[in-house]
């Protein structure tokens, strides 16, 4: 993606689960529709501890798309593709994960 201001290539970053494009030249930021609101919401959540899971809903319940919240935490790994591609290992799992699934 090219920066609309200076034309340099933009890189995608993940902030609190929100995809952000930043220009490698002028450092400008591009947000998709609704992402600024998502970030605002996340910032306010950090400032006050959340209640129990079925607590007051945030986002526009009833009007929200199936997943209106970020799909991963800020420290989450990038998942490549929607089908869990992790290279050429058996079951698509990283070596050792099969054992980890079953241990405390």
């Amino acid at each position: 993606m090219q920066c609309p201001k200076c034309g340099a290539p933009m890189q995608t970053f993940n902030r609190n689960g929100v995809q952000i494009e930043q220009c490698g030249g002028c450092r400008g930021i591009f947000l998709d529709y609704g992402e600024l609101e998502s970030l605002t919401r996340l910032e306010s959540q950090w400032q006050q501890p959340p209640g129990p899971p079925p607590a007051a809903p945030y986002g526009q319940q009833g009007h929200a798309p199936p997943q209106a919240y970020p799909a991963a935490p800020a420290w989450g790994a990038q998942h490549h593709g929607k089908h869990g591609h992790h290279g050429h290992h058996k079951h698509g799992h990283k070596r050792g994960f099969g054992h980890m699934l079953f241990s405390s």
Binding site: R27, P50, P52, Y69, G92, K94, G96, S103
Partner: protein
């Protein structure tokens, strides 16, 4: 009720598979295993013919639990426990035996292997002085060679069902107060185990670096996650499993093959997010495929009426904790075994590094910007 006679088994050592001794742990004494075998054999009733009868099979042998199967029963020796610990285990057993948990958690058997018709029949036996032992129907676990076919949907639904059980509905039939869920205690123990392991012999530089990442991520966690403070009351009102992973699911032919949760050792009152936090940690580490995570989370949210809620504000701290716990145990086991970390373990250490980077106060994040939003 039959009398439990503990006696040594002739064929145990020929028939048992090699004990699974996980890094740095002390294998259970043969005496305990033999006594457990005798317990389950006795509960299973007399053999048709001594010569053709199979021998008990050791399914697991770790300091935190030895499990022996015989016929349709298993016997488990729990970790050494004081009287207070045994009292807590009795409460946990009676929770699993309670009708409200039917179809959610596997119900234990009464001593002697009889069905526990009334929850008051259920209590642990004592083996070797301080090892409580319990009897269970034998179930079929998730196939460890086919984790891709794991029942994520059922797992999410079962945890939602467990969390929906009101603790007050159980308390009248319990012999004592419900103890706390032991998740944070296990996390703290894992970090302690890493520290102790690295204190024994020179550690490989890569493991020292990994332990540094785990320690730094540990330092970002709230005190309650590190078991240093009790959780606030809003995080102690839910009946939780406390140690969910795929090894905690079994299916029983007798109940139509439905999946149920097993292992009451860490069960108790706590934050329901903890039970989702291990799969969440795997997902955030890039290990659990997105589709599996979405199936698990979707089933949980559908079952708990929390669809459309963002789970991450509540999940974040427990998921970070389980990431550190997994990394710390990996370092401890790798150091004890003189090996390096495998790919999955390395992914958890990498996630610890990202946790530290994301938590650094006042530091620019990876985009190099600070958003000062109203």
């Amino acid at each position: 009720m039959r009398t439990i006679v503990c006696r040594p088994l002739r064929s145990l050592h020929e028939s048992a598979p090699p004990h699974e001794s996980l890094g740095g742990t002390v294998p259970t004494t043969p005496t305990l295993t033999a006594r457990l075998c005798a317990l389950v054999e006795e509960a299973a009733g007399p053999r048709p013919t001594q010569s053709a009868a199979p021998a008990p099979v050791v399914l697991a042998d770790r300091p935190d639990g030895t499990v022996v199967a015989f016929g349709g029963l298993v016997a488990k020796a729990h970790p050494p426990a004081t009287d207070a610990g045994t009292a807590d285990l009795t409460v946990r057993l009676r929770v699993a035996a309670h009708p409200r948990l039917a179809g959610i958690m596997l119900a234990p058997l009464a001593p002697g292997g009889l069905p526990a018709e009334r929850t008051r029949d259920v209590r642990p036996l004592r083996l070797d002085g301080d090892r409580p032992a319990t009897l269970w129907p034998r179930g079929v676990p998730v196939d460890p060679d086919a984790p891709g076919s794991a029942p994520w949907q059922e797992a999410g639904a079962l945890l939602a069902g467990l969390h929906s059980v009101p603790p007050d509905a159980l308390s009248a039939q319990l012999p004592g107060p419900l103890p706390a869920m032991r998740g944070p205690a296990k996390a703290a123990r894992a970090v302690g185990r890493m520290r102790a392991a690295l204190g024994r012999g020179a550690a490989a530089p890569a493991l020292v670096a990994a332990s540094g990442a785990a320690e730094a991520a540990w330092a970002t966690l709230p005190a309650w996650c590190r078991n240093e403070e009790p959780p606030e009351p809003s995080r102690t009102g839910t009946l939780c499993h406390g140690d969910f992973h795929l090894g905690q699911l079994v299916r029983q032919p007798g109940t139509g093959g439905v999946w149920q949760l097993i292992d009451v050792d860490d069960l108790g009152l706590g934050d329901p997010a903890w039970d989702l936090a291990r799969p969440a940690a795997w997902y955030a580490a890039g290990l659990l495929p997105t589709a599996s995570w979405n199936t698990f989370l979707g089933a949980y949210q559908a079952g708990s009426g929390t669809a459309h809620l963002d789970p991450w504000p509540r999940l974040d701290a427990p998921a970070r904790t389980l990431t550190v716990q997994t990394a710390a145990l990996a370092v401890a086991k790798a150091h004890a075994a003189g090996r390096s970390l495998d790919e999955a373990e390395s992914a958890c250490v990498d996630a610890c590094g990202r946790i530290v980077a994301a938590a650094a106060p006042g530091q620019p994040d990876e985009t190099g910007l600070r958003l000062d939003l109203p």
